[in-house]
Amino acid sequence: MTGRVAPVIDFVRNVRLWFSPAEVRDDGETPDYRFSLANERTFLAWLRTALALIGGGFAVDQFLPDLRWGWRVGLALALLASGALCALRAVNHWVRCERAMRRGEDLPVSRFPALLGVVVAGVAVVMVVVVLVGWEA
């Protein structure tokens, strides 16, 4: 399997797992409940990150009314989309961690936090520039 195809296949397999809870449960052995609850709280923290991005999208739409329509709607939609992506990734990561704990494997590593950090920094810089230069309608 080439390195380029493997992540796609993994993702499809994970999506299948979301909708078949029994498969997660039957895998390996049940870990200490405290680890499961810690994993759940991590999932919720990512979900709140997603909600913050979504709220940011509404805030851009609402509180920058002088911005040109394209910039305003583009930024708002980008934030909404990144929020949706973050929420999907949250549940995917939760399933992967739960399964790794059941099998006694290492927890999955991810480059998503770094990517999200870069994207948020990029959006912040764009917004500062747009607000300072004032590309108004």
């Binding site: 409940y33 499961s36 609850l37 979504i54 509404f58 999907l88 549940v91 399933v95």
Partner: protein
Amino acid sequence: MTTPAGAGGRDPGLQPERTRLAWRRTTLAATVVAVLAGKAGLAGGASGGVLAAGVVCCAGWAGVLVVAHRRIRGLAGVGEPERLSLRFAVGVVVCVLVTVGGGVGVVLR
């Protein structure tokens, strides 16, 4: 780790309570998003499309509240708490995605 707390055992980490509070914070975040969506919807004028998008947003918010409430009740019992089921995890994410769907409608009004 060597002494799993449960069934009346002492849990010095208060894990179930911390998890309950994490759900509460999540409902609070969802409420802030719903309020912002409502403001955007009202500012956009009460046209039919914006109203429908606002209703979709509110439905997503209500869904998050329902899932969180049921999960918090599941954690409130005595003894070893239930684990988060995949149904709840996927359910709450679907509700967030519904909110995003309504939000796209509000933004594109």
